[in-house]
Amino acid sequence: MAKRIDVSGLNAYYGSFLAIEDISMTVEPRSVTAFIGPSGCGKSTFLRTLNRMHEVTPGGRVDGKVMLDDENLYGAGIDPVAVRREVGMVFQRPNPFPTMSVYDNVAAGLRLNGKYKKSEMDGIVEKSLRGANLWNEVKDRLNKPGSGLSGGQQQRLCIARAIAVEPNVLLMDEPCSALDPISTLAIEDLIGELKERFTIVIVTHNMQQAARVSDRTAFFNLAAVGQPGKLIEIDETERIFSNPSVQATEDYISGRFG
């Protein structure tokens, strides 16, 4: 299920602007990898190249290689739609489909992929909502609109929606930045459980969060505004936060800039 991501020599552009330059890294399966770095360093852009969402932005374009086990996501003849069914994503702001019920939100991805019997669908929806630690809170209002939930519940609903289709990788783009501390804690606990089943990559602005949830941490930085973002280093989270091998990482983590 969970797959290894192997990126090599990846550049991403917005039009003619080079946003991130020459990124190579490996993301281990069944682990949490956190991306940290100052605003504008390209960590979100890089995350979006991992499920080919970057090219959805007008002018967005990528060169380089992203291997998911032994399949190049940017290889010839690869359908970006198929990639996104394999690599799920959770966004910064909770975005359940406002016109759909809780149930339909979770079922949305499954309905794209094919036909399911009612009983099968019920089972998957319940399993996904349980997987997102949301089942007990919403089991009595599965047919109410998903947009009626609280912000934290909405974000867990989005996680349930993403894991319902059993992706190989789960990408999270600052999933807690719009949430209160209690909801944040709920999501962080959830990430700890989800890594048993999925490869998880999370972008965060909160360094304590990176330290709490991740196994490995990648630090991104840019030389100056208008310069492309680069990967400075990636290592065990413990090492990054105690004894990083690059001075810039230590400066960032200890709050000397950024």
């Binding site: 499920n51 969402m53 959805v56 739609v81 198929a82 990639v83 996104r84 069914r85 394999e86 799920g88 994503m89 966004f91 702001r93 975005n95 359940p96 489909f97 406002p98 016109t99 759909m100 019920s101 949305a108 991805g109 794209l112 992929n113 609109p145 947009s147 009626g148 989005c158 929606r161 993403a162 289709v165």
Partner: protein, 336 residues
């Protein structure tokens, strides 16, 4: 008011006192002259609308009642229109049928095409092409209805024979599309012309609605592995549904009330034929326009009575649309 008392806490007294009158005035903001003038202006505008509406309704009802009380035939079912005869006999059955049928045809053609154009402009076309098409649609909206009427009578009618023949060959057995070779001055032609006329307004409003679909809803669908069509089905159309209904109602309002273009295309008769392709029939607005000038006092009152019916139909249509929108309110994109 409770909130004001809680937050302001005027004096440290054991029991909270009711807010002082001065505080109440400032909280309402009515003490400043600018506020007072603005409140007066906006309230006056609101009342003015109601007064105008009531005046129109009162005028229509009074004159209509004068005519209907003289009417010897059944006002709703009679196929006659002879208000100056003795006894006067007139009914709106033909007009109601013609108005509703031509508008329904217009909607059936215009709504799907408009939604298609709006989706193409906002989600498929390259930006420049979309802009160009939008501009052309705006131009279409600016063409006066008399010009549509001229075009309909001189170009559309003679060129519809092919379509009529085709409909007769393949759908003639239904009876609705039977064609006896007459000129195409029929309700179907009127419906087609009305469809072209209401296309711009429905397209424009739908385009604006589709453009406002939040990016994050579309990305939610994309990230689940939705194709472009699936994104439109999951995010764009549900979000835009109520807007498209409103747009369609604007278009329907225009179709129901369209006068000149209909009068120029239709060859009016006072009967209902089974086939939409038979020349003849009439609509409320067309009938009023073509008869009003030569009508006597009684004839005018009869026409006003028919106008009242059109007014009521329009109100019912709008009310129905509002109900449709309100029914799905909690699922609308507005509370996202």
């Amino acid at each position: 008011m409770d909130i004001t008392t809680d937050t302001q806490k005027p004096a440290p007294s054991p029991a909270p006192q009711p807010t002082a009158p001065r505080d109440k005035r400032t909280a309402r903001g009515a003490s400043r002259p600018g506020d007072r003038i603005f409140v007066g202006l906006s309230r006056g505008s609101g009342i003015l609308v109601l007064v105008i509406m009531a005046a129109i309704a009162a005028f229509l009802t009074y004159r209509a009642w004068l005519a209907i009380s003289e009417d010897e035939a059944n006002f709703f079912t009679s196929f006659e229109w002879n208000p100056t005869g003795s006894p006067p006999e007139f009914g709106i059955a033909v007009l109601a049928y013609g108005t509703i049928v031509s508008s329904v045809i217009a909607m059936a053609i215009a709504v799907p095409v408009s939604v298609g154009i709006a989706l193409f402009i906002t989600h498929y076309a390259p930006r420049k092409l979309g802009g160009l098409i939008g501009y052309v649609i705006d131009l279409l909206a600016a063409v006066p209805s008399i010009v549509y009427g001229l075009w309909g009578a001189l170009v559309l009618v003679p060129h519809l024979n092919g379509l009529y023949g085709w409909l007769d060959t393949y759908l003639g057995w239904t009876g609705i599309f039977e064609w006896n070779g007459g000129a195409g001055r029929s309700l179907l032609t009127v419906g087609i012309l009305l469809a072209i006329m209401i296309l711009p307004i429905i397209t424009n409003v739908s385009r604006e609605v589709f453009r406002q679909v939040p990016r994050m809803h579309e990305e939610a669908a994309l990230a689940l592995g939705a194709t472009r069509w699936e994104v439109i089905r999951m995010s764009v159309i549900p979000f835009g549904r109520s807007g498209v209904i409103s747009a369609s109602m604007l278009g329907l309002g225009r179709a129901l009330g369209e006068t000149m273009a209909v009068a120029m295309v239709l060859s009016p008769t006072f009967d209902i034929s089974a086939s939409l392709l038979d020349p003849g029939g009439g609509t409320f607005a067309q009938n009023i326009a073509s008869k009003f000038n030569e009508a006597t006092q009684m004839g005018r009152d009869a026409l006003i009575a028919s106008g009242l019916v059109l007014f009521v139909i329009t109100l019912l249509v709008n009310g129905g649309a509002r109900m449709i929108i309100a029914r799905r309110k909690e699922y609308s994109g507005a509370n996202a």
